[in-house]
């Protein structure tokens, strides 16, 4: 009997491992996505930054895309994995359309499909390193859900990824209510995005807001938020704590 620890025979169940690779860490990442339900559908906001570690390298990355007729997908995390997911969904929607039978996949179905994909990849220790926000409207029903790289998924009236969970959701919990108008929804989202801009180091001041209603998807042109840096607390930040961080 051979007691020498050898990688090959133990991993036989996993198949030939020499050619395959697994995701170990992300490289080019997007930061938070924030979304909420409003009167006519869903509003979603994401900035256009793609960070390469601590460098804010790419500043025109579109992190929200329409899916089929009824859904909108926003992603944070590894951008290349997001592009891979878009390919999967493209194929899914294509096959759905090819039935040509009047039925179509709605946001709930797409969200569940994504959950299955994300969870499966996680089980194979080769995750798609993303947190996804999926929103949409179908037959008058509004849907908003989130799924992340370990397969955790849920639906809610407002969702966020990454830092958004810590900075934006408390604001939304206080100020969100049913039947927000479009203007109020945008104001609320901008408030969240502004806080993220001040406090998240990977945020860039160039964002898009997307809306999806029964009529379809509109993604705004990129624009910037007004910021104010003259707060007295910003002037001498170490004033109250000299010598410490």
């Amino acid at each position: 009997m051979n007691f020498i620890a050898s990688k090959q025979p133990e991993n036989r169940l996993l198949g030939p491992e020499s050619d395959t690779q697994r995701t170990l860490y992300p490289y080019v990442t997007g930061t938070s996505v924030v979304a909420l339900k409003y009167k006519d559908g869903i509003l979603m906001a994401a900035d256009m930054g793609g960070s390469y570690g601590s460098t804010l390298r790419y500043k025109s990355v579109e992190r929200m895309k329409p899916i089929g007729k009824h859904s909108l997908l926003g992603a944070s995390g590894e951008i290349s994995d997001f592009q891979e997911i878009l390919r999967y969904l493209d194929e899914l929607i294509l096959y759905d359309n090819m039935w040509d039978d009047g039925n179509s996949l709605g946001p709930k179905e797409v969200h569940n499909y994504l959950t299955r994909v994300m969870y499966n990849r996680r089980n194979k220790f080769n995750p798609l390193w993303n947190s996804l926000v999926l929103g949409g409207v179908k037959n008058g029903q509004t849907y908003l859900g989130m799924v992340n790289m370990i397969g955790v998924n849920f639906e809610d009236n407002h969702v966020a990824t990454g830092f958004g969970n810590h900075l934006a959701r408390p604001i939304l919990r206080q100020e969100w209510h049913e039947n927000l108008s479009f203007e109020d929804g945008v104001k609320l989202l901008e408030k969240c995005m502004r806080v993220l801009l001040y406090r998240d180091r990977s945020a860039v001041n160039k964002l898009q807001i997307a809306k999806i209603t029964e009529e379809g998807v509109t993604i705004s042109q990129p624009y910037s938020l007004k910021t104010y840096w003259e707060f007295s607390a910003f002037e001498n930040p170490a004033q109250g704590a000299i010598g410490s961080w």
Binding site: W99, L105, K108, R116
Partner: protein, 280 residues
């Protein structure tokens, strides 16, 4: 149909452009006991005649629940029907798991039809010898489809398959224009009437038929014998007493008395009794 030199296997065409094996498979459907289906805008009712082989045996199951929103009635080789039902159940449950949404009936019947077509184009296979009436609900409303061993499928307002189905079809043809707006109970009544047509004089009782319903807000389920018998009695469907033999007459008389007395007792429980008329 005459035996000829082009009917040995399914992958041989006849000079007239026919595949005899497929046509023989459709014959098998015609020999099976009757199954009928009809739909309104919101409900679909499936019904079938259950003939037990002998008085000692139970009858074959011909209606299967495929999912909460889909059910199927079969005629022909019931073993083939069972296998196809299992396939359909699998497809529905896998779709539900992936999309958390019910599989649209229209897609299921296409998958079923494609599966049947494969068997008409492989020399080592044979066509499924069963016709399926698929009843289901989807976003666009209530649907009734018929899947053929040939791999064709058709959508119907109402249809009947199996032996003596022509009688039921005639009845349905006369009435189908009203079905779209029928109430659920009227639809069941029409189903029972159609089943009675295929019995050709034999008394209709809940022990020899099965009825299932699916509709908006009502998941697919088979009605239990008692309910069916109550409906038979309530609609006074027992009807014409042209039964020539004494036994059916007695049974008919017994049923009539029951209807008069309004009793809901399941009198036609087993097939082996020459039911003695009740003393009034």
């Amino acid at each position: 149909m005459f035996r000829n030199q082009y009917d040995t296997d399914v992958t041989t065409w006849s000079p007239a452009g026919r595949l005899f094996q497929v046509e023989y498979a459709m014959e098998a459907v015609k020999q099976g006991s009757a199954a009928i289906g009809l739909r309104s805008k919101t409900h679909i009712v499936l019904g079938c005649v259950n003939k037990a082989n002998s008085e000692l045996s139970s009858h074959q199951k011909k209606i299967f629940k495929v999912d909460d929103h889909i059910g199927v009635a079969i005629a022909g080789l019931t073993a083939d029907g069972r296998v196809l039902s299992r396939y359909m159940r699998n497809e529905c449950i896998n779709y539900s798991f992936t999309y958390e949404s019910p599989l649209p009936v229209g897609r299921l019947v296409v998958q079923l039809a494609d599966k049947a077509q494969v068997c008409t184009q492989r020399s080592w296979k044979r066509p499924y010898g069963v016709g399926l009436l698929v009843a289901g609900l989807d976003e666009s409303g209530a649907h009734l489809y018929y899947n053929c061993p040939s791999g064709n499928y058709f959508e119907y307002q109402a249809f009947a398959i199996g032996s003596r189905s022509q009688a039921a079809k005639t009845y349905l043809e006369r009435r189908f224009e009203n079905f779209a707006d029928s109430s659920r109970d009227d639809l069941v009544k029409d189903a029972l009437m159609a089943i009675r047509e295929t019995l050709q004089g034999e008394t209709l009782k809940s022990s020899i038929c099965t009825v299932a319903v699916v509709g908006v807000g009502e998941p697919f389920h088979i009605l239990d014998q008692e309910t069916v018998q109550q409906m038979i009695d309530a609609f006074d469907i027992v009807g014409e007493k042209e039964g020539p033999a004494a036994e059916p007459d007695d049974a008919a008389a017994g049923q009539e008395v029951e209807a008069e007395q309004g009793a809901a007792a399941d009198q036609g429980g087993s097939t082996d009794e020459g039911v003695a008329p009740m003393d009034i």
